[in-house]
Amino acid sequence: MPDALAAPVPAPLRNPTIVIAVLAAVTGLLILGFMTIGARGDWSFILAFRGRKLFALLLVGYAVALSTVIFQTITQNRILTPAIMGFDALFVLLQSVLVFLFGGLAVLTFNAQAMFAIETLVMSAFAALIYGFLFFGARRSLHLVMLVGIVLGTLFRSLTDFLVRLIDPNEFATLQDMFYAGFNAVETDILGLCCIVLLTASLVAWRKFPVWDVLAIGRDSAVNLGVAYHREVLIALALVTLLVSTSTALVGPVTFFGLLVANLAYLITPSHKHIHIVPVAALIAAICLIGGQMLLERVFAFNTSLSIIIEFAGGIVFILLLLRGKAR
């Protein structure tokens, strides 16, 4: 909850604008490095090739950061994220359902855009159904909601496996590879579409920031202050669904990234207004993704995967949060 300025911080860091500026500068440097380090040969090719990848990473970072912050505001805690609640897994499941219904590789290769649109629509409906039940029904304990979300995630993943095996048992591994995008294999052909989706979502989201600042105080206070609670939460959930679809379509499911980014942002931002938290979270996400990808490519020579490291760090942070009782 808004406990801004709780910890003593050095004077310049008490100004959120300075925090954002510093992070933006770091991001800028990393972008410069990402585009130029180790470049040999034709510049026009390198810039276009790396540019697409960089752009995708930035989009993903922004989508994950924004969706997690919104989700944590409406669920009133720092430990739930859309990914932990199984949103990502649901998206991947829908992808395989579509392939199952409309037949194999044709769909995958034919029209990535149309497929993305259908998936997002169906997913919004499903998400509203499942999560409406969890959040609007009888007041349920946070631990129950979390556990149900995690088990739902497992269910979605098993169903995906199941469907993929039904579609073509011989091509199981290949199909699975095609379903799971990754940081090393970003889906660049839907970049344009994702960009439009993100812009639209942002237009709505940024106008909602003041409302969400009120929502963050708590349900009852927000209602007292005149917020149309149910409507606002529904809008927020719809936005979250859109954002998660975008990031999952681009790089596949990453369970803990949002958790890490949002908690770091709350830790270092001296203000808990959305107008400050969201940019900070997005910049941290960009720094992690670009920096991490550079480290992997240049230092580890692709010898490990960014998502593995995120899962590792995120799991530990999650356990610590649970142990400290932040979840209540």
């Binding site: 009888a138 349920r140 304990s141 631990h143 129950l144 979390m146 556990l147 149900v148 995690i150 088990v151 739902l152 497992t154 269910l155 993943r157 098993s158 169903l159 496996d161 199941f162 095996r165 039904l166 048992p169 369970t255 010898n303 490990t304 995967s305 593995i308 490291i309 899962e311 590792f312 799991g315 530990i316 999650f318 356990i319 649970l322 142990l323 009782g325 979840a327 209540r328």
Partner: protein, 323 residues
């Protein structure tokens, strides 16, 4: 609901399922003809080298996994945990990966032993973390467990990625009985022996499940019983991972279903847990064989779907009153 015919009826059901499991497969096998001595050599070979081993493996692993789940639930004093959701199975695969990297030619007993040691370490770590939680909500225990398994899994992934062993890892993670042949499942008898030991010591585990101070007051060597229980769980998990791979949620679902019918007494519940475990594994494996005949869907995938649905039901059923 405990009826004196309940156990024989369950036993009969498992036998029937086992017979079904013997006859289902790509090559036709007529059991009655074989019994009358009318089968060809090839049919006899398939029966003895593949079908019978597979069916025995199913029964043994189902029963012992379900019992290991029940045992862990007693020791962790929480009914929403099982070896694959607290890091035990994941640690066993990490150990197995380590043997594959450092000593690929190790005999299977050694591999199993190292995997069991890792599993023991993982489970102990989980119990240590639990003891750090001050405010112990029923649901925080499985949450911590699931996250811990995730962390151990990512460590395993990290090394598997470096040594290009992701393929092998995928095999252990998705339980699959299609590779079970004569000579490749016998270790499972050992896990069944562990299940028998659990039955003998059942009353002690029940007391240990009441908590350290209470158990010590009753004159029980709590630490020793805890160590015995953890060792049994680790060995069963390691054997199952080494021979068939992980079957998720089995150890969680079965004891809960039995508990609803029979209540909390472990010694009385154990035979039901063993039979239901064997039965559920048989049903899932047979379903996996039939759904996409002649291909097979691994039991790990089938149980992943079935198990998580039952788990969700168990979670939501208890909601309104005591959430």
């Amino acid at each position: 609901m405990t009826h004196r015919f309940a156990i024989p009826a369950a036993l009969l059901l498992v036998v029937l399922l086992a017979c079904a499991s013997l006859t289902i497969g790509v090559s036709d096998l007529d059991l009655t003809a074989l019994l009358r001595g009318g089968g060809t050599d090839r049919q006899t070979l398939i029966l003895f080298a593949s079908r019978i081993p597979r069916t025995i493996a199913l029964i043994l692993s189902g029963a012992s996994m379900a019992i290991a789940g029940l045992l862990l639930q007693m020791l962790a004093r929480n009914r929403f945990v099982e070896p694959s959701t607290v890091g035990t199975i994941e640690s066993a695969s990490l150990g197995l990966l380590a043997t594959l990297v450092f000593w690929p030619a190790a005999p299977v007993m050694v591999k199993m032993g190292i995997a069991a040691l890792f599993a023991l370490g993982g489970t102990t770590l989980f119990l240590r973390i639990l003891s750090l939680i001050k405010w112990r909500d029923v649901l925080i225990v499985p949450l911590v467990g699931l996250m811990l398994s995730g962390v151990i899994e990512s460590i395993t992934d990290f090394f598997a990625y470096r040594f290009e062993l992701l393929q092998a890892l995928a095999n252990w993670r998705t339980g699959d009985f299609s590779g079970v042949l004569r000579g490749r499942y016998e270790l499972l008898w050992l896990s069944f022996a562990m299940a028998l030991i659990t039955y003998v010591a059942a009353d002690r585990f029940t007391v240990a499940g009441l908590g350290e101070s209470f158990a010590t007051n009753l004159g029980l060597a709590y630490r020793r019983i805890l160590a015995l229980g953890l060792t049994i769980i680790a060995i069963v998990s390691a054997i199952v991972v080494v021979s068939v791979g992980m079957v998720p949620f089995l150890g969680l679902v079965v004891p809960n279903v039995v508990r609803m019918a029979v209540g909390d007494n472990m010694r009385r519940g154990l035979p039901y847990v063993a039979l239901l475990g064997a039965g559920l594994v048989l049903v899932s494996d047979i379903a996996g064989r039939l759904i996409r005949f002649p291909y097979e869907i691994p039991i790990g995938t089938v149980m992943g779907v079935l198990g998580s649905v039952i788990f969700l039901y168990l979670l939501l059923k208890r909601t309104p009153a005591n959430a």
